[in-house]
Assembly symmetry: C2
Homo-oligomer: 541 residues x 2
């Protein structure tokens, strides 16, 4: 127990009357340390005349400060230094049952001593996967970004919500500054609007909701019950949040029409137009197209310009899910991947992916200047958005959101952008894509490795064929065998803790690895290591 | 610029070939310090044979670590010690236009020096509202919780997502442990399921979606287009997220039927039944009732037991929005407020409110054992939820969510619960409510103060009448005058920085103050100060 003994709380302010007696309590069951004996007051009934029933465990700021300092040391040592050290393991694998025992998860009546809690902090880090490690390639985030990490600590310590300027003046303005800058980078010369959300999935759902609202604002009030059947169009490789959003929003997953992709995973514009015509012929109402800039698995970019032509022709809202691929726009060399993005209606872009902002940092941007976000989502809660405030209440942005509490995620991007500048962000993107290029070339050189396709972004997808399969003829049987390789290699790398690389099937394609390079800490040596290690782990299969 | 010069990166791993030349670059426009000159490589075209075009600003871990340590010092000094010191201001008010100038928000091509970024960290804290300050009473969160704060730092540093056990083994198990414990505390003897969400609004929307799915699972696929008109019932004092959810989910705000409340702000059960019958008589389909346990403004608790009877009779899903009031269940003395909660279908409960977990920490709990959460929300993304993994994939809980990225918020509650034990959590609730009781009694004693109603929870709502209004007869004119008092007092307290207390109108009631005591750091002296200060700031009105 840290929150401590009964006492006159801060004598200079100390008029909380403590009426309880002090006694020693036994520590909670299962608490091991003898330090964990707590001093707790026995409550007494008090007169209404000023004194009251108070189990007054008032905060001891010095103890709290000392605890925070010790914990911060642990965080730097274990979650920063050790977690990014290539000599250390990426993960210390334990099955759920084993880990439950190691962590002693049960929550009890009694509290634990400071030393025990500090050990729990160490353990939480120890048994967590080291996503900052230079050999963590399992997701679309990786690496350690010190500025963004510090910003996230500050956001946690300052502990506020973005609904009103009143309680979040700094973060409100920073979000506005970041959104404006992102809108400028996208090339919306007339400006626009936006909001940071807890994840790209919600950003994509915002797009669906705005598109629906623009099509018919009445749906907000009356729902979809007597509406014509609405249809969303998206590629078959799009993120699953489009489907989740359709389910949540009363549109239905069957009304998400998937458009075929070409051999590189890009939406085929002529096929999009066919699907639009199909929906119309069924009496349904296509109202939006979701184009993906950087698909999750292949890293494919739908041809935005051509899709925009079709959307203009049919008067459809065009949203671009650029959660993963949006970073390319920071690079003069690679921004061509997003050609046409200045023409679209909305964009989801997650700086927490390629640009390495702390999780989560997800922007939804809309090329609208008529307060569509506000109109579509507002509920005008009078306890929060009072209109008789003494400042310009247009700075109270909370009613643009479907959330009430909302984190100041933009700050994490703002501080790192200030520290690095656009140029360094550009270099990170260029370097990551150069690394991917290197890896692809290396794969082509090595026996037993086969690219799924030439990468155009940071995703490098490939199969590993163990020697026993290398001379088999191309056949369904070979692919069936190959399908089992990646899961076993994955299991072995996890148990060894040497690296983490993702795998998945895709359509008819057997399980393949997806490597994604993001962090500037990753060296070519790490990429060579990945290929060598996959071979070492899988050569007996 | 911290990310530093071109060099052979970590010589023992150093096979990244650096082909650029080193040159000094001018610092970005507007960057003031001479430190901000960056060393950046000039890119060169490289051969495909292993070397490549690399603007290789590889990370310098020592510089990063030093930066993080310095920033942590700032956080402890400014956001912990100073922010909780009652001698300091709660806020340093600046208008948006003034603050924009102070913060220099623009994002530029060039980065800034470490010293500048550290100053930006100081400024971000300085100009933020000190929600941990003992005189911050503006929202339903307040105070500094050291364990939860540390847990949030760890979560940020470890940087992972809760979708799979593979990348979040520790946090997955901790979320499970916390959810189980909360379910036990609620009293669902058969168990249940749950998920932590970014805010109570989303938790309430989960309830709507589950209730709808239980009513008709087909809606997930086909949407609401040919569905009967669905109706949600909730009290007129409910949180605005019910309405936002109805809009987002294709149900429509007009299909949220508001049930009248009694003089204390509690839903009137007979009125609920009347509204149900009304909806049915219109040919609509009532499918869920939202009861509120702890309304936002008055802190009213709808009578759950009586509402549960009605829901059973009409076969309606009963959700309880206990985001604010859920904490009462930790207290033997106050849990009666939630009588009947063991009978309901789902509960939203935010430990980040009364229990002081770091923002955000919001649980959605459901008394279902048939994997309704999973069935309702799943999209089975094959790149994430591979079924051929080597561990029990029921631990991959991400597909229960409408998000993809999801923060390990449960950890913030788990660590503080471990440190404090249930007993200390109980004492905090009891103490907060005793403080509210004290404040209410004090208000009744003081001239010029008038309670809106006797508090039954931590919300103390009152009017302040300046001397000039005290002898006026009760009349619409008096109330019209009184309506203007709170905004002016609020403006003055903000500009002075002495405290922050919220105000709002409610229905026909003129603007009144809402005080909420949460933090154990708050003393009776702070409450006396609030009343004195309101008088000082408003006596001339």
């Amino acid at each position: 127990m840290i929150l401590m003994p009964q006492k006159e709380f801060e004598v200079n302010r100390g008029i909380v009357e403590i009426s309880g007696k002090i006694k020693k309590l036994e520590a909670g069951q299962g608490v091991k340390s003898s330090e964990s004996q707590a001093l707790v007051a026995e409550p007494e009934k008090c007169s209404p005349a000023g004194s009251f029933d108070v189990n007054s465990s008032t905060a001891d700021e010095q103890v709290a400060e000392s605890f925070i300092r010790q914990a911060m040391e642990i965080i730097v040592d274990e979650a920063v230094k050790k977690a990014t050290n290539v000599q250390e393991k990426v993960c210390e694998w334990h099955s759920p049952e084993q880990l439950k025992k190691l962590l002693d998860l049960e929550l009890r009546d009694g509290g634990e001593a400071e030393s025990e809690i500090l050990q729990r902090c160490r353990d939480a880090i120890r048994y967590s996967v080291k996503t900052s490690h230079p050999r963590f390639f399992n997701q679309l985030y990786a690496g350690m970004e010190p500025y963004s990490m510090v910003a996230s600590f500050i956001a946690e310590a300052v502990k506020t919500n973005l609904y009103t300027y009143e309680v979040a003046p700094v973060f409100t303005l920073m979000e506005d500054a970041v959104l404006r800058k992102m809108i400028k980078v996208i090339g919306w010369e007339e400006g626009g609007d936006g909001i940071f959300n807890p994840g790209g999935s919600l950003s994509n759902m915002y797009a669906v909701n705005l598109a629906r609202y623009r099509y018919c604002p009445d749906f907000k009030e009356v729902g979809m019950f007597s509406a014509p059947r609405l249809v969303i169009l998206t590629s078959q490789e799009c993120h699953y949040s489009i489907s989740k959003g359709a389910a949540l929003m009363g549109i239905g997953t069957k009304n998400v029409y998937t458009v075929p992709t070409d051999e590189r995973g890009r939406m085929i514009p002529s096929a999009l137009e066919e699907k639009i015509m199909l929906a119309k012929s069924e009496g349904a109402v296509p109202f939006m197209v979701n184009a993906t800039a950087g698909t999750t698995v292949l890293g494919a970019f739908d041809p935005i310009d051509e899709i925009a032509d079709i959307c203009e022709k049919h008067n459809l809202w065009l949203h671009v899910d650029a959660c993963w691929g949006g970073a390319a726009i920071m690079s003069k060399k690679h921004k061509h991947l997003l050609k046409g993005i200045h023409r679209v209606d909305s964009v989801a872009w997650n700086p927490h992916k390629m640009l390495m902002a702390s999780l989560q940092c997800s922007a939804f941007l809309v090329r609208d200047k008529t307060s569509l976000l506000q109109h579509c989502h507002s509920a005008r809660a009078s306890y929060l958005f009072q209109q008789d405030k003494f400042y310009d209440v247009s700075y109270d942005t909370g009613d643009k959101s479907v959330q009430c509490s909302r984190k100041p995620d933009a700050f994490k991007f703002w501080l790192m952008w200030k520290a690095l500048g656009s140029r360094e962000l550009e270099q990170r993107v260029d370097r990551a894509l150069a690394m991917a290029r290197y890896l692809a070339e290396e794969i082509k050189k090595r026996e037993g490795f086969r690219l799924v396709l030439e990468p155009e972004y940071a995703n490098v997808c490939f199969w590993y064929l163990p020697p026993s399969m290398r001379n088999l003829p191309e056949s369904p049987e070979l692919w069936k065998k190959l399908h089992t390789v990646a899961p076993v290699v994955k299991q072995r790398m996890m148990k060894k803790g040497s690296m983490m690389v993702g795998y998945q099937p895709l359509g008819e394609k057997a399980n393949f690895f997806r490597m994604v390079v993001i962090s500037p800490q990753v060296s070519r040596q790490d990429l060579d290591f990945v290929l060598n290690e996959i071979h070492n782990l899988g050569k007996d299969l």
